[in-house]
């Protein structure tokens, strides 16, 4: 029974990874085919680094991810603070449910609804075609907000309120008590929200597809355009590099996590 269930697990994982592995292996294929392996080469990687469009979309992706995640983190952190202190339960509930709409809705609906807003407003205000960098920034910030709030909110809830009272007793102004006492306790939540928003923005295709214009392409949009027509083989190299980056990042986070666990356990053991 045990052998059977083990086998089942590894077969499913093997099937899950087979297409990705094939892509990775054939990105080193000299012949530029996905069925006949003719020899090892870095040819397509060289080609990729000469592809200006790909490099520009990589830059765009990072610019967009950095700016939208920062914006979402600032707005979201203050929102979490305000929601934590809010006394009116109905307003709080309403804000929470509206914030979570992009998480519940399929991406395509979020995408087209924002596209309609931008196109209609652009038309009304006589701005013409507004789709591009700025609409992408707005869209990415919007769909990141619920994730930022979700990771910051619990930190506010867990925060020991007596510490704030102590700070006030010791002569802090409310603003000082917030920045000097409460904020440091919230920081881990803010950081994980920021990282989450950053990766969500890097990964998003569907929403970007609707609110972008050809003159501001991100990496996923570049990949989409590549796969829509005749694929350049350098795209396999690009995908391999993306997969390798994700793997390294995941391993690093995992490793950092286990080191953190270990030090925490050690500290607890010392007590």
């Amino acid at each position: 029974m045990k052998i059977l269930s083990r086998t089942y697990m590894w077969v499913v994982f093997a099937l899950l990874y087979a297409p990705i592995l094939v892509l990775v292996i054939f990105s080193f294929n000299d012949g530029g085919s996905l069925s006949a392996y003719t020899g090892f080469s870095f040819r397509w990687y060289g080609e990729l680094f000469r592809d200006q469009v790909a490099l520009q979309s990589l830059k765009n992706s990072f610019f967009l991810a950095a700016s939208s995640s920062l914006l979402a983190t600032v707005i979201g952190t203050f929102a979490a603070l305000g929601l934590d202190r809010m006394r009116n339960r109905y307003v709080k509930g309403a804000v929470n449910s509206v914030t979570n709409i992009p998480m519940m809705n399929p991406d395509i609906v979020t995408g087209v609804s924002m596209m309609l807003l931008f196109v209609a407003l652009g038309g009304m205000l006589g701005l013409g075609d507004v789709l591009g960098k700025w609409t992408m920034l707005i869209a990415h910030t919007t769909f990141s907000l619920p994730y930022v709030i979700l990771s910051v909110m619990p930190r506010f809830k867990q925060f020991d309120k007596t510490l704030r009272e102590a700070a006030l007793d010791l002569g802090c102004t409310p603003a000082q008590s917030f920045f000097k006492v409460e904020l440091p306790a919230i920081v881990p939540g803010i950081v994980s929200g920021l990282v989450m928003a950053f990766t969500l923005s890097l990964d998003d295709f569907v929403i970007s597809h609707f609110v972008s214009s050809p003159d501001f392409q991100t990496l996923p949009l570049y990949i989409y355009n590549q796969t829509a027509h005749n694929v350049k083989y350098s795209m396999y190299a690009l995908c391999t590099l993306i997969i390798a980056t994700i793997l390294v990042l995941l391993l690093a986070v995992n490793f950092a996590g286990s080191v953190g666990d270990r030090t925490k356990r050690r500290r607890e053991a010392l007590k």
Binding site: M9, V12, A18, F78, L81, M115, L116, L145, L251
Partner: protein, 275 residues
């Protein structure tokens, strides 16, 4: 003691509230507006009436998404079960193996699956090398469903895995003590207790499956028009925003209703949704 809220605390959520009214509620109002107006901007039900001619697309999409979700559950539940009962030392590695595909772009995964199954792809080359006939997989409904299962399986496994590993092991011991065999324990104890995980898994697979357009374009070879494809066409190429808005509105309502119905089964435990 009730503290007075400082100005900062009172105003902190205001930018966020303005933002979500402008960019979450605003867009949805525009969907409503476009769905219920004609091209001249006057109120009409013509878009909604036109939807009857799209009913086969809705039907096909719902069928594909349901079948894909069912396969994900059938494949994913046992996988989550085995993973949750593996040694604690190997669980970390297994989690990593499960998470990695979730972080890789859906475009890359779908495309790599397509190149593997394509007429000139590796699977068919292997078949030819073995002296067998080639099979055209890409372009069939089965390929589209396979793509959905392949892309979204981890989203089914993760919440179920979380649910199973949170399960109190003493229940299993109690069931064994009271004479349940392995299968009885699974079906009468574990399965009912992990319903919240199953429900969020189903939601996380069904919603992207019913709204996808990339999977059907790549693996369906253009032979299958799903709701996602139809919406994408209306907005990206045909610029028929009014009918596109009506289709989006109906799909959104369909999904919200099914999420609400699903959550009835799981005592409204929203926690799992976030994972």
């Amino acid at each position: 003691m009730k503290q007075k809220r400082s100005l900062l605390e009172k105003a902190a959520a205001v930018p966020h509230m303005v933002w979500i009214v402008l960019f979450i509620l605003g867009p949805l109002l525009f969907v409503l507006y476009f769905a219920f107006t004609d091209t001249k901007g006057s109120f009409s039900f013509s878009n909604i009436e036109l939807l009857t001619s799209y009913s086969h697309i809705f039907f096909l999409s719902i069928c594909f998404a349901l079948v894909a979700t069912a396969f994900c559950l059938l494949i994913g539940y046992p996988l989550a079960f085995v993973m949750a009962r593996a040694k604690p030392s190997s669980q970390k590695l297994l989690m990593l193996l499960l998470m990695l595909p979730m972080w890789i772009s859906l475009l890359i995964r779908t495309y790599s699956l397509m190149t593997l199954l394509d007429n000139g792809g590796l699977v068919n080359s292997l078949l030819t090398a073995m002296g067998l006939d080639t099979v055209s997989i890409v372009g069939t409904g089965g390929a589209v469903i396979l793509g959905m299962v392949y892309d979204f399986l981890p989203y089914m496994v993760l919440p179920i895995y979380t649910s199973i590993s949170k399960l109190d092991k003493r229940y299993l011991e109690a069931a064994a003590d009271l004479g349940c065999n392995g299968f009885q324990t699974l079906f009468r104890v574990v399965l009912p207790l992990t319903v919240p995980g199953i429900v969020s898994g189903i939601t996380m697979v069904f919603v992207p499956s019913i709204s996808t357009f990339y999977i059907s374009q790549k693996l369906g070879g253009g032979n299958f028009d799903l709701i996602g494809d139809t919406i994408e066409r209306q907005f990206k190429y045909a610029s028929t925003y009014h009918i596109g808005a009506a289709i989006s509105l109906v799909m959104m309502i369909l999904i919200l209703i099914s999420i609400a119905v699903m959550n009835r089964f799981s005592d409204g435990d929203g926690e799992e949704m976030i994972v």
